[in-house]
Point group: C2
Chain length 642, copies 2
């Protein structure tokens, strides 16, 4: 079957009949800040070549050449390694979309040729099966990730086509999608993938091709879930314990869950399926209010790379996979588009600035797979993993970060993230150019200059973050009192003229956060948060150890920007109590003793493990009454600049 492109060459999408908002793609948003822009440059200059090099070096790319016959040798690595190549290509495509680069484009084209060569005549494409056990294709959907790899191929193909207009990879993708569609479906073979991904990818493939079959195939895989014979075999690890519309609790493997529900949210945006919308609402409530780390990380348990029970959020053993935080962003972004509700964008912001960004080093070439909230110097980023899902996920996610800043309807502009940037937002009646000036996330002052192509009446909807208790607005210098906040957005409807200026002031005090009392891991503990940034204490800033520190409720905390530290961060300074100083002498239990105090410095959680190795902790114990404590200011070394 041929692959028909709707609006060939355009970047138009067919998604979203039922959803309230359309995202402004990252290609239309130019980030010009000190926070994200350096990260994007590092992603292009370091992370992408690093990932390409590792895919080459570990035989991941060679597997395609071998399957295509242009290279001799056996399959190398893990059976789902094809997906890593697709994800890196997807990242490369996003980079090409904003930063054309002939050398990179050529490199990408060569890889695509190898991929195309590995495709079988019937459209099937998976180098592991082709090279190792061709007779067993599709016999183990639960474990062997064929459909998962297919999904990543589709995402890469859509990205590459949109970035370059070239159809080669998209044709490969469509041919494979057609092959899958010829086998699975309501009147054909039943079955669902053990690792979800193809569902959201088919929605994207539908978006770029307009091919209804892909949408229906995505819908089929979603509707089959929890119904088929797989149910007992897959269980809740794969969210296959009951039909999606009957699900109420988040469970199982966290990345699987996020990819699945991203697909569901995408489909719900197109079809308006109430059952899906309501299930997402219930599951969101469960994860966000009972099973999410303050960093936005999810999935506390290593044993299933996923969820356990409500409020089980251990810090030191937190799994909180980087990919799961990325999935949390993908899913909440789609829910935000579906509902135009800022509580979803709040989660995007939380995960993005904390548990997701922690996944990559400042130099862009080392990665966390696991993101604990406390560490005794046993946990450090690595350049690569045999199971390389996290590095390859970072390289495809980071270039798209501009795509989370704005969204729109016919006559509304939504500002979801505050990032110094320029953007073009296509409303029904006019194209709106906007410029954001802000030092966010270090400062809550935001100035937005609006340049509609011509005077036009529309709504500017500015997200008031859930963490903010005092937001003020001015338009062209005049304060707006009693502005309406609707679903977390301050809404300003008026006729906008070129050069109009909105000023938003989000009070950003240092907050001592508490966890719900059922989170026993954090009983008696506080975490420091300022704006969207969650802080941690690292050994390097705190005299070499942080596990004995605790924080008095009375002690003053001070925010201080340090432009030379960790790429430029605002640190939080204060006085901590060494609650169990000195004299333990091998005792395990003893009566309470008087503590002493030391100076302490907290840095953003995402920035930890970029300097000297050592302990790290997010949730510090609260100390009883500091007043009587003697020996204050014994001092610790100044935090070391990177």
């Amino acid at each position: 079957m041929a692959c028909l492109l709707s609006g060939a060459g355009s970047t138009a999408t067919r998604e979203g009949q039922y959803r309230k908002l359309t995202g402004v793609p990252f290609t239309e948003v130019r980030i010009e800040d000190d926070f994200w822009a350096p990260r994007l440059r590092t992603t292009r200059e370091k992370t992408l070549p690093h990932n390409l090099m590792w895919c080459e070096k570990t035989g991941r790319i060679g597997n395609f050449a071998k399957a295509g016959g242009s290279m001799q040798g056996k399959f190398e690595g893990i059976y789902f390694n094809d997906s890593d190549v697709y994800k890196v290509l997807e990242g490369a495509a996003y980079v090409l979309a904003t930063h054309p680069d002939r050398k990179l484009e050529k490199q990408v084209d060569e890889i695509i040729e190898k991929i195309a060569s590995a495709q079988q005549d019937d459209g099937y494409l998976n180098t592991y099966y082709t090279l190792v056990e061709p007779e067993n294709r599709r016999t183990n959907l639960r474990d062997k990730h064929e459909l998962y790899c297919a999904g990543h191929l589709f995402e890469a193909a859509v990205a590459h086509y949109r970035a370059t207009g070239k159809r080669m990879l998209l044709s490969v993708a469509c041919k494979f999608a057609d092959h899958i569609d010829s086998i699975f479906g309501p009147d054909k073979r039943s079955g669902v993938p053990g690792h979800e991904e193809i569902e959201l990818a088919l929605v994207k493939l539908y978006g770029v091709t307009g091919e209804e079959r892909y949408l229906k195939l995505a819908q089929f895989f979603l509707d089959e879930r929890g119904r088929g014979r797989s149910r007992e075999l897959y269980g809740d690890y794969c969210q296959d314990h009951k039909p999606i519309r009957e699900q109420s609790e988040i469970c199982g493997h966290a990345v699987r869950a996020m990819y699945l529900y991203s697909g569901v949210a995408g489909i719900a945006g197109i079809t308006g399926d109430r059952g899906y919308v309501e299930a997402m609402e219930r599951i969101w409530d469960d994860v966000v209010h009972r099973k999410m780390y303050i960093t936005g990380g999810i999935g506390p348990s290593a044993s299933n790379e996923g969820f356990t029970v409500a409020y089980d959020l251990p810090n030191e053993s937190a799994y909180a996979e980087t990919c799961a935080s990325i999935g949390m962003v993908l899913w909440n972004h789609r829910l935000n588009l579906l509902h135009a509700d800022a509580r979803f964008a709040d989660i995007v912001e939380r995960a993005l600035h904390n548990g997701l960004l922690s996944g990559i080093s400042l130099d862009g070439e080392r990665f966390f797979y696991v993101n604990p909230l406390a560490s005794r110097d046993k946990h450090h980023r690595k350049p690569w993993y045999a199971c390389a899902c996290c590095p390859t996920n970072m390289v495809r996610f980071l270039p798209t970060v501009g795509g989370y800043v704005y969204a729109h309807s016919a006559d509304e502009v939504y500002v979801n993230l505050y990032v110094a940037s320029t953007a073009e937002v296509p409303l029904q009646d006019t194209l709106v150019r906007m410029t954001q000036d802000t030092r966010y996330p270090w400062d809550g002052d935001v100035k937005i200059t609006i340049e509609p192509a011509s005077e036009a009446t529309f709504d500017m909807c500015l997200r008031i973050p859930g963490w903010c208790k005092d937001a003020r607005l001015r338009v062209n210098g005049r304060p707006l009192s009693d502005f309406e906040i609707e679903k977390g957005y301050a809404r300003i409807r008026r006729e906008w003229h070129p050069g109009d200026v909105i000023e938003l002031e989000l009070a950003m005090p240092i907050e001592r956060m508490k966890a719900h009392p059922n989170v026993t891991a954090n009983t008696g503990r506080v975490a420091i948060q300022r704006g969207p940034i969650v802080y941690c204490n690292e050994a390097v800033d705190n005299g070499g150890t942080v596990f004995q520190l605790s924080l008095s409720r009375e002690t003053e905390l001070v925010a201080e920007h340090r432009p030379q530290l960790l790429g430029g961060v605002t640190v939080i300074r204060g006085t901590a109590v060494v609650s169990c100083a000195g004299s333990w002498n091998n005792m395990l239990y003893r009566p309470i003793a008087e503590p002493k105090t030391v100076k302490c410095v907290a840095v953003p959680y995402y920035s930890w493990d970029n300097r000297e190795r050592g302990e790290m902790i997010v949730w510090l114990p609260e100390t009883p009454d500091l007043a009587e404590i003697s020996g204050a200011d014994t001092g610790t070394p100044q935090s070391k600049e990177e």
Copy 2:
């Protein structure tokens, strides 16, 4: 081989050439207090008949009749169920030793006849193998517990012989021991049991028979450990990862470890083996200073019923099996006899009064297998378990509690536990009758009246508990100043006359205990301890919930004895803070808010779950500064009398 009895009919023991002390057996100690005496009565009148009934009802006793041919039918239950019958018989023997009872003796004799009938001609005795797979005897020493069951048979036999002078069960035991000895040994078959127990039992069998072969066989099983081919198969779960003399850390299954090391300590007391003595020292340091709950419970993890890593002491998921606490007492008692060092008796006291005693209900007929330090109303005692090791361990342990009170050498009397009691201690030159008057554990005043058969010079060594910071002594009313404390014992050497009185005052203030800062489960938390008693807060005394309570450092705590509550306990009253009151509204994280206060009551940990079901917690969070808190004394219901 015949079973030769040394000093037939006597209760003399041949153990202990190298150990410093001999325990005064429970048969020579008459407990007359309000704490243990009612427990002993309940054990005789309730727990023992209850256990016998369940052994009958579940086919455990019937298995012996079936194996002996006097009853038809298949083997019932788990393959190690024989051990339960042996343990209950051991308990029954201890009861008979102090409380002759013709009916019970007859019942015991009938069970012994069934056991004897099940013994094979070659001496082998295990109803599971005889009835289910006789061809596979001894083919799976790791999992199938034949030698474990044998050990419990030997212990029961020794107890029964000592209590009644009857040899029937002892003959069965010796015949089985001879059978095992004919197969295993340095020049015979190699092998160690997967579940240790036979080692300490063989030491006992040697003690009563004087038969060196049994001692050597015990030594063989100990020396083989960590050396054999089993090493890879068994691993550290069975303490088989390296030879015992090379072991330094406690690991694996907690009950296995305790039984093994009890055997090691017993052998070391006889042989003086330095390698064993030093290994015990290292392992003791590891468990007591890094891996023990404040209740004396050990083995935090359910997955291996055992140990994990240092300082991993989660409260709610604590496994802390009742049998492991019993094992902790058995082991530390032996180490105390070996070294005459009170730090071991401190652990006996801690486990005994807390994590062991919690294993049984006040009515004597319900049991904890697992002893968590916090519970959300999901954990309650049960009358029986399919794996019934804990109920049957309580019934054989409790009658012997008097045996932990005194020990002696040729010219020293050691007082290890404070219990109102009378005892006879046989020194080399004289028999010393002693009377202890005390309200311990509720009060630290102890009066000991000494009645040597005639005037004699010897040392009275009184344990000064590790928890006590202020101990005073008087002899015949005159204060002793600057008395010597040697290895935790206050030593008084003089010529004692009949009627001499020692008065010991152990200050017993309420202590707020802290755990070592590496125990992250308890960071910012305190536990209440008074004397040897660890306290907990139960829902029933605290307005229905305890997980939101925290304790201010400033609040006064008051001890109050309530004779009608829980069999008579001293409770601790105070004011707690509800740190996270009310308004969470489904939030998972929020900035700190002002708390309110309520009255709270703590009861001894061992006594929890004897009234209305509900939450329980040992380690309460410490609250910052109470001074500013408003809304104090909103009150909670008075604790309900049982």
